[in-house]
């Protein structure tokens, strides 16, 4: 695997059994993601965006072809090895935030570090740093129910970034946000992308998100229809 590559996908096919036959969600997908890329998977519903994110995130297995993420070939890996990959190397941002309602902002961000077994002092320092990045130090002791949607998504970003993963997978991260919060959240991710060279992979329909992407992979019926490098993203410099 090329040192610069975070993800390498070769001739990926994904089929799901349907009735007596099967449905092919991804066909012959070959692509790479390099360090620091801000990539979006776009396409209509059923085009295979989530399936591709699932496979890259180690949540699903390819039917054919090979996928290597962070130097780990995913073929034949068991549940524990895939969980380890996600725990150590991948951050997730969900559409509906999925914060733990009974925990404070600090504790929600702390959770991935607990899974990694990090000691208390390092944890506190990492969480504070992550919350500073997303400008939520004044909400440390708040519970998710006390936050706005934008603030919740910023907590989710802090939670994804706190372990400083090389890759962050975000599926429709702005779907539940208004325009202003969408731009705030995306601006935040752009900054993290720049400062930490974290690679981002989005699945999105949102034009606002697309305006920040440096690379857009168009999927149609499970195939890569177009792989577009964006030299001047619409919002990236301005916002």
């Amino acid at each position: 695997m090329d040192d610069n590559h975070i993800v390498e996908i070769r001739e990926l096919v994904k089929r799901y059994p349907v009735g007596g036959g099967h449905f092919t969600a991804l066909r012959d997908v070959t692509t790479d993601v390099v360090v620091g890329e801000f990539t979006g998977l776009v396409g209509p519903s059923g085009s295979g965006k989530t399936t591709l994110l699932n496979i890259i995130g180690g949540l699903d297995a390819p039917s054919e072809g090979s996928v290597t993420v962070l130097d780990m070939p995913l073929g034949g890996k068991n549940h524990k090895e895939l969980a380890h990959l996600r725990r150590e190397g991948i951050g997730f941002i969900f559409q509906t935030f999925n914060l733990l309602p009974v925990y404070t902002v600090f504790e929600n961000v702390e959770f991935p570090l607990l899974l990694m077994g990090m000691n208390g002092e390092d944890r506190r320092s990492a969480v504070n740093q992550a919350l500073e990045w997303v400008d939520l130090m004044d909400k440390v002791k708040s519970r998710p129910a006390q936050l706005s949607g934008g603030e919740c998504q910023r907590v989710a970003i802090a939670r994804a970034i706190v372990k400083k993963p090389k890759l962050i997978i975000a599926d429709e991260p702005t779907a539940n946000l208004d325009a202003e919060n969408s731009h705030n959240v995306m601006g935040l991710m752009v900054n993290l992308n720049r400062e930490l060279s974290t690679s981002f992979m989005f699945a999105t329909h949102d034009e606002k998100v697309m305006g920040y992407l440096t690379r857009i992979i168009h999927l149609i019926d499970g195939r890569i229809d177009e792989d577009e490098q964006v030299s001047k993203p619409k919002y990236r410099e301005g916002k």
Partner: protein
């Protein structure tokens, strides 16, 4: 990590409060039922121990073999010093000599001729020694139906039905006709001080209770006793302890082959009492098992509801790299914590109630005023040593078992559906 999760458990009231309340109730009920059943069975054991067998009983070996015949010619000699020795050697029990005897009771008329006569079963009890608890444990004051308790050695109590059949009133003379310890013919005049009703037909119909001193005089049994019975100070029968005590005593008896050597028997060694003790333990075990099974089902259901409520949380945790095994184990860890908390509170709630029922009891005499009771009119519970930990069995094990059953869903979860389940639809 566990501390983090426990924090979550106690903050999420629907996860902790409801569960703890349910477990507390179940544990409290378990401990109460255990204490209550122990008390009820103990009441049965107490009656058998008081009237027939003691918690343990020392006799000569020959007497034990023919005890149905009340063979006082095989009685223990030097019984007073033996009681003192037993009291010193086994201070956890109190020891008392007694003589069971049988014969005829003759009721004379004014001319001294026989008016009525009937077979008699006599209990010679130590009623008057300082510190004697016979009046107390036989509940003679409560069971007295006419007259008063004996105050002198020659005064006796008769069973109410027996006295009625013989036409005897308190103050009358009743002549015992029987055999002395040495086989000689004996007549002895007792004075009827009062009548009692133990509520046991087979005993009441021909029972005589006399002070041990009077019986010794009547039967020529000075410093002798048919049997020496031992009772625990709290009058609760400890089967294991009593059997161990008997085994220990019998191991140290010199010349065990001699027919006059001493032998100790526990309550369970008497006819059918062993079966009764076993039945009581099975019954308690069965009730606890049923409780445990019900608890598992209730907590299984509760776990399923919690699992549904926390579906998103589990999905998020799996997506973030927690293994299914770790999620499963942490839910079990939470169940243990909730189980312990509920069990602790439940036990703490139940024990004072059991203690109250043990010390004070529920007196339902007022409900049946004027009636003769077969059983004790006070229902008592009993704090057994297992009351302190028994509730933890359904409280913790059932909680964990319920969580284990409901938590299996974590392993069935399709990882590839996580994004969809987390409401992500691309």
């Amino acid at each position: 990590m566990l501390r983090f999760l426990i924090k979550g458990v106690f903050r999420d009231r629907s996860r902790s409060l409801f569960s703890i309340i349910v477990i507390t109730l179940i544990v409290a009920l378990t401990v109460l039922i255990r204490g209550f059943m122990a008390g009820i069975f103990d009441d049965v054991f107490r009656q058998s121990a008081v009237i027939f067998a003691g918690h343990v009983k020392v006799t000569t070996r020959a007497y034990a073999e023919e005890s149905d015949l009340l063979p006082n010619d095989l009685a223990i000699l030097g019984s007073d010093s033996l009681v003192a020795a037993l009291s010193e050697e086994y201070p956890d029990m109190f020891w008392t000599p007694r003589i069971l005897f049988a014969g005829l009771l003759d009721i004379p008329d004014e001319q001294g001729e026989t008016k009525e006569q009937g077979p008699m079963m006599g209990f010679g009890l130590d009623l008057h020694s300082p510190g004697s608890r016979m009046v107390e444990i036989w509940e003679l004051e409560r069971k007295l139906t006419r007259g008063r308790l004996p105050e002198r050695p020659a005064e006796v109590l008769l069973g109410e039905t027996y006295a009625h059949r013989l036409g005897v009133e308190p103050g009358d003379v009743a002549t015992f006709i029987g055999a002395s310890m040495y086989g000689g013919f004996v007549t002895y005049n007792f004075h009827v001080a009062g009548t009692v009703s133990l509520g046991i037909t087979g005993i009441d119909k021909n029972m005589l209770i006399a002070d041990l001193r009077g019986v010794r005089m009547a039967l020529d049994m000075q410093d002798a006793a048919g049997e020496i019975v031992g009772y625990s100070h709290d009058m609760f029968y400890d089967d294991e302890g009593s059997v161990a005590l008997a085994v220990n005593f019998n191991e140290h008896v010199p010349n065990p082959e001699n027919e006059f050597s001493l032998v100790m028997q526990a309550l369970r060694d008497h006819t059918q009492m062993g079966a009764m003790v076993d039945i009581s333990e099975y019954a308690i075990g069965l009730v606890l098992f049923i409780f445990m099974a019900v608890t598992v089902v209730v907590l299984w259901n509760m776990g399923l509801m919690n699992g549904l409520r926390r579906y998103g949380e589990f999905g998020m945790r799996l997506a973030m790299g927690e293994t299914k095994g770790h999620v499963y184990r942490t839910t079990l860890g939470e169940a243990v914590v909730i189980g312990i908390a509920g069990s602790f509170i439940g036990t703490a709630v139940a024990l004072p109630l059991v203690w109250y029922l043990q010390e004070i009891g529920l007196d339902y005499t007022g409900l049946f005023e004027g009636m003769t009771f077969v059983l004790s009119s006070i229902i008592r519970a009993r704090i057994t040593p297992d009351c302190y930990y028994l509730g933890f069995i359904p409280g913790v094990l059932a909680t964990v078992a319920g969580t284990m059953l409901s938590g299996r869903g974590i392993y069935k979860r399709e990882m590839s559906q996580l994004f969809k389940e987390l409401e992500l639809e691309a």
